[in-house]
């Protein structure tokens, strides 16, 4: 996308990753733990063309949904800023928002062992788009301790998908998840898998 007018006033550029997963699994907490700024919120109005079964032939209806996003920022170097986008709430409509995944270096899918099923939509989405992802199993105090391979079986994940046990409130833990994601993305790029 060689489309800019920035030379020579803007030296820096940007890249993004996504933090996805089910409702209440800690996405915004993770963004807040690792971001250098307090998380900001933005929103987009998504327009979906739908054609219901009872519509007159050829008649399409439009529905619009407002999708909120919480995001944070990490300055990687004077030349590179990393943005982290979390999809807050129980909102499922962000899946319609392809711009979010386009060009992302990858995604963290947070999972809660008490409700592993809530991560399936995100797994399906990123798998189908070929976006590298890792599973971050957020270990809540009262959650049962699971083995990585148990989680892998339960989520039906391929062996090469990294699974990291984490605590989204802990900065070192969040760093480990993000490094694992970037390394996984690097492996996929190096292997020409994208």
């Amino acid at each position: 996308m060689a489309f800019d007018n920035s030379e020579p006033v803007l030296r820096g550029s940007s890249v993004k990753l996504l933090v996805a997963g089910g409702f209440g699994v800690g996405k915004t907490t993770m963004v807040g733990t690792i971001s250098e700024i307090p998380p900001l919120r933005t929103e987009e109005v998504i327009t979906e063309m739908s054609r219901g079964v009872d519509d007159l032939a050829g008649v399409e209806s439009k529905t619009t949904t407002t999708v909120a996003l919480d995001f944070g920022r990490i300055t990687i170097s004077p030349e590179l800023v990393l943005y982290l986008f979390g999809t807050p709430g129980q909102d499922r409509f962000w899946f319609m928002w392809d711009e979010l995944a386009d060009g992302a270096l990858g995604a963290v899918i947070l999972a809660d062992t008490r409700r592993l099923g809530s991560s399936f939509p995100a797994i399906d989405y990123f798998e189908s788009r070929g976006v590298p992802f890792v599973i971050g199993v957020n270990c809540f105090d009262d959650g049962a301790v699971h083995e990585v391979e148990e989680v892998r079986d339960a989520l039906d994940l391929d062996t090469w998908v990294p699974i990291v046990m984490c605590d989204v409130r802990d900065r070192a833990s969040c760093k480990q998840v993000l490094v694992t994601l970037a390394e996984h993305a690097l492996t996929m790029v190096t292997a020409g898998a994208r």
């Binding site: 800019d4 803007l10 550029s13 933005t42 407002t66 590179l80 993305a185």
Partner: protein, 120 residues
Amino acid sequence: MSNDGTWFDDAAGPLVRPYAMTGGRTTSRQADLEIIALVVALGPVTRVQATSLDDELIQILRLVQKPASVAEISAGLRLPLSVTKILLGDLIDKQLVAFRSAVTPDIRVLQAVINGIRQL
């Protein structure tokens, strides 16, 4: 309009719909302006601009005296991303801001990200 006995409340939303600011436009010619594209003003806000440009454009120009992403501008102005992109398109057309698209996450970028996060 009188402010007395108003029939609307916060739940009714803004009285000026966001797209009124964009002259009714719902899409931007700057279709490639991504959510994380960085934008910076090409100079300080001049007195002439402060009186001739719309308030929202002035607000953006003040916000991007240092580089900021489209998402940060949208959050700062409390406007939807699509509306923000249209307003930014106007500033680009007027040659008041520069912008830069996101980089492709290639080997070099990913290695920089890995090193950068490790050093946090």
